[in-house]
Subunit: 215 residues, 2 copies
Amino acid sequence: MSLVRVHNLGVSIDGFATGEGQTLEAPFGHAGSRLLDWMIATKSFSAMHGLAEGTDGVDNAYAARYFAGVGAEIMGRNKFTPLRGAWPDEEWRGWWGDEPPFHTPVFVLTHHPRPSLEMEGGTVFHFVDASPQEALDMAREAAGDLDVRVGGGPTVVRDFLAADLVDHLHVAVVPIVLGRGVRLWDGLEGMEERFEVEAVSSPSGVTHVTFDRRR
Amino acid sequence: MSLVRVHNLGVSIDGFATGEGQTLEAPFGHAGSRLLDWMIATKSFSAMHGLAEGTDGVDNAYAARYFAGVGAEIMGRNKFTPLRGAWPDEEWRGWWGDEPPFHTPVFVLTHHPRPSLEMEGGTVFHFVDASPQEALDMAREAAGDLDVRVGGGPTVVRDFLAADLVDHLHVAVVPIVLGRGVRLWDGLEGMEERFEVEAVSSPSGVTHVTFDRRR
């Protein structure tokens, strides 16, 4: 059975996985890039943009796992766009330009479906009004033998955790007090009991915490 | 100038530093001992009880710092007792038996002062209705050249951080989702900017995070 995985999710020490006030200019609201600076600095992230620079220590070891063996992604509407409600038109094609970094089918959870969107490099956005389990069934079908990544935002990750659909969760705890935004952990009391938990700090200041389903 | 220090404060990954529902039998409410098991397991903690057992790795290195160079403690009423409101009598003498582990003057913040309480081993509890700054002035006076420890609970630590009175904060982030209790980080947005921050994970699973005032 393929796994459901979450990777590289930055979470502040007070539990916020994105900031307040998302706009076109600020995808993570007042958090800016602070929850993912550790990842942007890695070699794996640079390579996505065709660059050879970047850190190659423990942060990169974790960051690189994002790419391996994933056949489909599920994301929330708010990861795809800062727009809310009905689509004004179909001009918005995501934050990522003509060739998004997913290279697989991507199921975007939204109450406002629209036609699928085929991008360069293998990414196809499907817009589905579905429960977590329904979306997962579609993504598994699309992924074949490969794993499904739940790509965020925090609300979607929380919903999948609450429905006990996640096999592997990797968060990077960033030692900042964000104060406002979307909380990751709400409603998940005791979830660690279902997982093997491991924590490793990095010289960058973040701590990688993995929750791997007990088998 | 003597420093104001907080040590060994266990905080869940969702930001709670104690659980919900404190009672005589459950000083940390539904959290039980989960936020301090790492510390109870150390050699330093065992030594307080005259025992020679315990871990002697990174957890103990941090735990041991609790004891060094402290001349007075400040604590909240809820660390001293599960009782609320006016004292029914003066029978309650703290959770710690005849010889509490403080061995210094201890200033207990309460809206209900009562006579000071001299215990064995040098601990003297003073009950004061004071602001954080006023309590700190008293504690500094009592501590002489030594440092002042803010001993908790989380509300008091938060109040002292909000008033920018803390020079060194050591939290142990425990990778459990506590879900309910008293949040440490509320109202402290951006506090990391005032500190050098360092994180070190331990094989016990906790991550020691220190906030050391920039000088």
